[in-house]
Each structure stands twice: as C-alpha cells, then as structure tokens.
C-alpha cells in the first residue's frame, strides 16, 4: 500500500477515484478497448472523485485496465481516463482495498489542500462573487500579437482573505483565452465563483485606465477559480495556513 504522501500525489493525478467491485475479468464494457487478462469490469458503488460534469458515475459499470491482475473483490481505484464510448474505460494508477476508502478520501482532501495552499498564500484577495460585463481594453485591430486584455467588475459577496470591506474589485484578464498567456483563464461575465486573485502582470497594468489600476486584480491560473461550494474547504485551508 502506498504511503499517504504517495497517495496524495496519486490522488492529485487521478481524474477518477472510486470504489467498486470487480464483476468480470477479461472483458470490457466498450469495444474501443483492447482486452487482456488485466481488463476487468468494475461495478461502481461510490465516487470520490470524477471529472467535472460527469454525473451518475456511481451505480454504473466501468472498465478498468489494471496495472496487475487482481482477484475479484472490492477496491478503491485511482485511475486516469482511457476511453469513453458505449461505456467508460479507465487506466489504473493505483488501488486500495475497499475497506481503505477513508484513506482515499483523506488523500483527495490533502491533495486539494496541497494544491490550494500555495495559491491561497500568494493571493491578495480570495472572495466569492460574480463577474460582471466584460470591457475589452484593446480595439480588435490592436489585439494582433498581444494578449487581448479586458476588464470586468467583480461583485463580492464574501471575502475569505484580504480586505473584508471590499464590495467589488476590477478584474483584468484575457478575453478570450490567449496563447500568449496560456495559464490565465479568460474573464467570463456572469461567472459566480470563488476567485483567488493576484496582482496583475505589468503588461496588463499598462493597458488599464489609470483610475482603475490601483485595485485591479488578476486570475493567474485555472485553479484560482473555485466553485462556491468549496468556500468552507478553502476557509479551512486558510485557517490551517494561518495557524
């Protein structure tokens, strides 16, 4: 069994973490996957982590390409996507015995915390709110060869970190996403989420009207946008870091 640290790394890499029972061996739920002795069909009974938007994974059957043969039984699988067709096939990264489910959950939580902690630490402001209308900073003809900077007003509901009295800030970011700034997510009007905000890069500040420069903030990575339901978890991470 891997150590917890190892498990955290695996949990971070795995898009699928679920528990289930091996029901068939040497077969597949979809024809697009070649079958060998390590190909098994697992009946999923609990989902710990799945790719965003994948619903009703629990209760379905999934094909798992094992790293090594496993006897029939109940396991917790850490896996990456392999193929999706008339069924779903995943490739095992690691597995635990079914009774070790709690370890898997803990690993996922620690992985999340490990991923978010440095982001939160580096953030100037962490707040839940809604992005407003987008205002491009550059006319279309001037966007060639540059990051298409834009501004959006961020209406703040709750502050996790930073000035708790702020009710809105100005966001600066690319609209749309740009190859010249591939990590920075595009601003999107209407987005309701927790934003982990940084100071903008100098390149962006040059284009911001002077009266808006001071308070302008920037979303640096996709991970700096978190769904609202993560509020308590993030708060806990911040609290832990502050300790």
């Amino acid at each position: 069994m891997p150590s917890l640290d190892e498990l955290v790394t695996i949990a971070e890499a795995a898009a699928f973490i679920f528990s289930g029972s091996i029901t068939r061996t040497g077969t597949s739920t979809l024809s697009a996957v070649p079958v060998d002795a390590n190909t098994v069909v697992v009946s999923v009974d609990e989902v710990i982590k799945v790719p965003a938007g994948l619903r009703n994974f629990a209760g379905s059957e999934v094909t798992v390409q094992l790293r090594h043969p496993l006897p029939a039984g109940h396991y917790v699988f850490f896996a990456e996507p392999m193929a999706v067709g008339e069924g779903i096939a995943v490739r095992e990264l690691a597995h635990l015995e079914g009774r070790e489910r709690a370890d898997a959950v803990a690993a996922v939580e620690r992985a999340y915390a490990a991923r978010m902690a440095p982001r939160l630490q580096a953030a100037v402001l962490v707040a839940l709110g809604t992005e407003g209308e987008i205002r491009p900073l550059l006319p279309p003809a001037e966007r060639r060869g540059q990051v298409p900077w834009a501004l959006a007003r961020f209406e703040i509901e709750r502050v996790l970190k930073g000035n708790g009295r702020l009710r809105h800030v100005t966001l600066v970011g690319p609209v749309p996403a740009s190859k010249r700034l591939p990590r920075a997510p595009a601003l999107r009007a209407g987005l309701h989420a927790i934003l982990i905000l940084q100071r903008p890069p100098e390149e962006a500040i040059e284009h911001i009207p002077e009266d808006e420069r001071k308070g302008a903030l920037f979303i640096a990575e996709t991970v700096d946008i978190q769904p609202s339901e993560r509020f308590e978890a993030l708060a806990q991470i911040i609290a832990t870091e502050n300790e």
Partner: protein, 816 residues
Amino acid sequence: MLKIVNIIPKNWSDEENQDCEPNLSVNPANPNEVIVTAFTFDNPAGTSAVSPAMAGNWAPIFSSVDGGDTWALQFVLPSAAGDQLPTWDVTCRYGGTSGEVYSGLISPGGFTILINRAPNAITQQTTMTTVTGDQPFLEATTAVIGGVSQDRLYVGYNANSNRSTVNVFLDAATSAATTANPLDVRFPFDMPPTRTAIHSSGTIYSAFYSYNGAVRSPGDLRDVVVVKDLNWGGSTPAFQNLVDTGDGKVGVRIATSISNPWYNSNFEDPSFGNDRYGPELAIAVDPNDVQRVYIVYATGTSASDEALHLRWSSDGGHTWSGDLRTIPTAKNPSIAINALGMVGFAYQQVVGANWMTVLEVSDDGFISSFSSHILESTPTNAPTPASVMATYLGDYIKLQAIGFDFYGIFSASNAPAKANFPSGVTYQRNVDWATQTLLGNNGVTPVAVSIDPFFFKLTIEVPVVATAIANRGFFGDVCLGSFVDEMLTINNSGSGVLKISKIASTSVDFEVPSVISYPLKVGAGDSIDLMIRFKPTGHGFKSGKIEIFSNDPTSPHSIDVSGECPAPRLSMIMANRGNFGNCCVGSFVDEYLILNNSGKCTLTVSRISSSAGEFIVPEVLSYPITVGPGDSLPVPIRFEPVSFGSKSATITVSSDDPSGPASINVSGDAPPGKLAVGGSTTFGGVNACCCADRTISICNVGECALHVTSVHFKRKSRHWRLIHNPFPAKLRPGSCLPVVIQYRATEKCSRSCELVIESDDPSTPVKILDVLAYTVWDYCCKEHGEECCDKCHKESRCQQGYPCCCEDDEDEEHEG
C-alpha cells in the same frame, strides 16, 4: 448517400463543452478507421465548468473503427492537468498506409508545438520533436521509395508566430529528423495558416498569406501565395518550383494586396454568427492530375464584406482562374478531390440567424455545376458563446476524400432538433427528440446545449454500366444497301445515377442512334434500350465497337459488334463450253449465257462486253441489271461471223461480285463454201467448123454459201467461149450451176485452154480447169482452106457438135 453523426459518445452525454475547431483523418489503409480532434476536455464540463480545466494529462481524440457510425474518446494527446484548454490548436493525421497516427498541437504551455506520433489511435502519443509557432496543420502520406514505405509528414505552421513554414519529415514513422522550410521569400511576416496538399507523385503544394509589407501595421494588405516542391519537400532548397511571373520571385501570388483581417476582432463577433473570421485557407490537389489544384482564401474588412473565394489551376499552380465560387459571410473552408476528380468544397456560412454548414460537390470542378448539401443549420446564439475561446465554431473544419467518398468533420450547435439537420443526423449521446432535449448519462437529467463535432460522410454513388445485346453482338447477314437493327440494353447496376455523355461507333458500318441532348440518365437499377443499326458499306465481315462514355468510373465501355455483308456471286453458264458451232458468214447463231447469282445478296451487273465483234452481246438500255440471290438471268450472245474460219472471243461480265469481272470464252466456226466442178472439159476432136459444147457443173459442196465470182478463160480465144455462164453467183450449199463451154473447131493447131473459176472457197480460191479440144480437119477443109467453114458447114458433118453460125465467127469476145 449522406451520413451525419454527432460523435459525442453515449457515455459522454453529460458533456456541455464547446468542442470546436475539429479536424479529421481517415486511415487510407482502412477507411473504417477515422480520428477526429477538437477542443475536447477530459471532463464533460469543459468550457461550461466554473473553471474550465483539464483534469489529467491526456486530452482525447475521437476514434471510430466502423467508418464513423460509432465513436469513442481515446485519451492519447499530451496535455496537462489544470490547463485551461486540453490543447490549443491541434490537428491529427494517419500517416498513410502505415497506420501510424500523427498529431501537431500547441502545448498549453505557450507557443510550443508538439509534433507527436503513436502506432495507432488508442496508444498515448509520444513527442517526436517540438517547434515554436502557431497553428500546426498536418498532412501525411506513405511513399514507397525503393521498395521501402516511408511516412511523409508535413507540418505547416507559423514559425515564431511570424513565418509560414513547413516542417518536412521524410521518414516520420521511424525518425524525428525534420527540415524546417520557411516559405515566404518576400516579406518577413505571414498569417497563421499554412496549408499543404500532397500528391502521390511527390509534388507538395503549400499555401499561405504573406503580409504585403515589411512591417506589420493595422492597414496591412495580404498576398495569397502558393509554392510547390517536386520532391516530397526534400529539394534543396525546397518549395522553389513556382515562380511568379509578376515579380519573378518564388511563390505564385494568386491574390495580391487583399484585405483580410487577422482574425478580425479575435473574439466571438455577433455580426458574424458570434465567431471570428480571418485568414481562411485551404488547398487540395487532384490525386489523378498533379496539375489540377484548388484553393480557397478569404477577403474582407468586416463581417459585411467578408467572403471566401474558390479558385483553381490547371497548370500546376502557375496560373489561376478567377472565382469559381464566392461565398459571403463564411469561414472554415475545406476542399478535397476524390478519385473520380470530383471536387468537394465544405464551409460554414452565416445565413440569417443561423450557422449553416454546407458541402458542395462538383464533377466538373465547379466550372458549371455542383450539388449542394446542407449538413446543418443551427442558431448562431445557441449555445450562448462561452467567451473562453476566441472562436465559436473554431478556425477550421476538415474535408477529406478517400477513394470516391468524402469524409468530413465540422462543429455546430448540438441542439437536438431534426429540422436543424435537413440531411439527417444520428446522435450517440442521449437525446429526447420529442422534447428536443439533450439528456445526461443517466438518460434523465437534461443537459445544456453546447457545441459538438459532427462527422459526415458522403458516399458517392457510383453508377456501373452493364450491357446486353443479343448473339454477342453479331447482327447476322445483311446485304449491301439494307440494314438490321439490334437492341442494346444499357443497365445501371451501380448505386448512383448513370449519366451517358456520348455513344459512338468505331465503324461506319454500325450506326448508333441520334441523341438530341446528352446526357442520358439512367437511375440505379434501371435500363435503357437503344437500337444499333448494322448497315454495311461494303461486302465481307464487318466489326466494330460501340463505345459508351459515361460517369461510370471505368468509362468508356466497349461492346463488340459484328456482322456479315455477303457478297453476290456471279456464276456463268453456257452450253457446249461456249462453242456456238458452225455459223455461215452472213448468218448468226444465238446462244444464252446464263448469269446466275449464287450469293446471298442481289447481284448488280454493270456491263457485259465482248472482246470480238463477231460475238455480240445484247444491247442493254439501262444498266445496272440485277439478279436476285439464287436467281438466273439468261443473256443472249450472238455469233455472227463476218469471215470464214474459227472464231473466239471473251465475254466479260462486270458486276459487284467482289471477285471482279467474270469472263467466259466463246467460240464458233464460220465454214466457207467448197467448190466442186462436175463434168468434163475434154471435147476431143471436133470436126472443123463445127462447134461443140460441153457443160460443167460448178457446185458448192461446202456447208455455207459459195460465192463464185468469176468463170472465165484465162486467155482470149476465138475458138473458145462460154455460152452459158451464170457467174458471178452465190451457190448455196449443195447447189450447182452449169457453165456451158463452146469449142469452135477452127483451130489449125489445137491449143489447150484454161477455164478459171474464181470463188471464195478459201481452199481453192482459183480453180483452173484445162479445157481440151482439137479441130479435126477433114478433106473438105483441107480442100477449101480458110473457106472451109463456109463451104463445109452446111453439111451435116458435125458429129460432135453442131455447125457453128457464121455470125459467130465474128464474136471474139470471150467471157472470162
């Protein structure tokens, strides 16, 4: 037959991602294998997520192994967890016959292009090499060089975001060695698209937009440039084989100083279907004709004047036509040419409030006609633009030809309304068509409308000509001037409409029907009957081919036809070997020469002639005369000799018997009369002064008349005279005429005399008879001397004759 399939797999029904900018590749070694790339995440949320990002390190491609009917995602493209797009620009290609899969994608980490490969579509790709630039666009094939198969890979891209470049891999399956070939010799800046087209001969075309200026500026105009390499892009230097006649530089400028925005506003423009537009570009070469090249490019300064332009070259890119098609308010062109030379042109166009994806196909290269298929027509605002990417549907689609068929991929709204897909559509993902609702994996939860890739395949229904004609095309015997018609049945045993453009005969003896207007159309499974006429123009065996020119790929079709035009045959019959027998001069004998036609067709006689005037052919008032097959015509020939002897001639009959004039020898004989003389010409002694007569008979003992022209004494003598001479006269055969000879016995000395009979007896034309007599002088005459006859003749002393009359003494004229 057109098939359209939404390729989101059933177990990805939860997905709400903007799967745009698709690309496609069909495995030429196995067209059932198809792969597609798009901006597809490894999670169904995709761009709809609170924070669109990759969950893991492998982005998917779509893969089908049944010709596009069903699809699966294979997570094989290198990506990275947390990246806001699965990849940036990405295209994929099957290598050719190797089955190797290649991809070119912009790593989420910037403008690094990863060029990857894997042995198949289900294996995670490994990176061969990296370059720096924008918009990698792959083309690939397999070349067999010296018996060794090598994958040739061409990666067109905008190097360092400046220069149109093609990286050439000459052995991509085994080696990452590549040569980077900047294409623009004129200006240092080019627009992102660089497109290539491969011909199996090793000719590589490439097209790009060159900034028409040394420094980029907002008002830059563009040139659309085409370059070419004749050696798989491996020439040194490469892509130098087209020179512009205007400025003498490498690269033919098919359009110069055009306006073309660099992705206009770089955002989803509401006036252009919520999408962006800019340097649209596509190029294709005819697999059967390396000189035939098609290109599409775009011009415009705004959504209102933006347009696509389809043009072509028939001379390998040296010169180009004007617009064959001009499509306003359109983007994402793609062109392909199939094995029949049909040109496919796909594009996406804003029509009213809808995006319309159209496939046009022309079998004459868009010179005069094409068929149009609307693949989809969906609202431009459903879904609402996500504003994550700069594009709504993507910056390209892909059309590919394999064999006769066209395969393609486009992205469009997946709103499940049948009316949006006039050509039909199949969804794998869960759909409630009745309520026009997408459903999630559980088949219950509604899923929001988004952008999905749609695969399409246009099966070119190929007609197949089959023919039937009785008796293997043998028309039998037909006489000259006549004809026989036989029915030729042309059946279309294929699946497409057969269009017959021409029916021709290789022989003047076989006539095809006149067709007022081509083409003749025959539906699949139908037939038409045509009459073919055998009308021979000469005798003998005739053969030819009936050729059918059509849109059957194996056209033209030939049907062997033959027939026989029997010749008439002249046979001549004549009794007795043409011997007329005897015929007297002045008479004639007629014999019949039988002209028999022993052939199967009418004999036409044009002339009957004789080589000798004594054999006379009949007078014919008007030639020709005809003799039917099996009939005979008796022709009288007259033997009318004009002189004695054996006669012969040749009678020649000229006709249309192919063996030529026929001759028969004729002969006859014209016997002469034959002189015979009866009676004696010996008088003996005759008492002096007496006259004695002798009568001879001159007879004709021949078969024909004898002309006795003269009977006379050879010399005059008063002692001899012919007292009866009926000659000259003609003696009929067997007849005689007497001649009376008188001797006047007054000779003192007897002298013989000769009687000359002249006739046309050729054997004795002159017969001389001696007439003999002597005078018997008695004592009276001796006594009286010359007065004997006066003294003595009164006495009956003429025992052999009679007394000669005194007056007779004075007659000394002798007939001769």
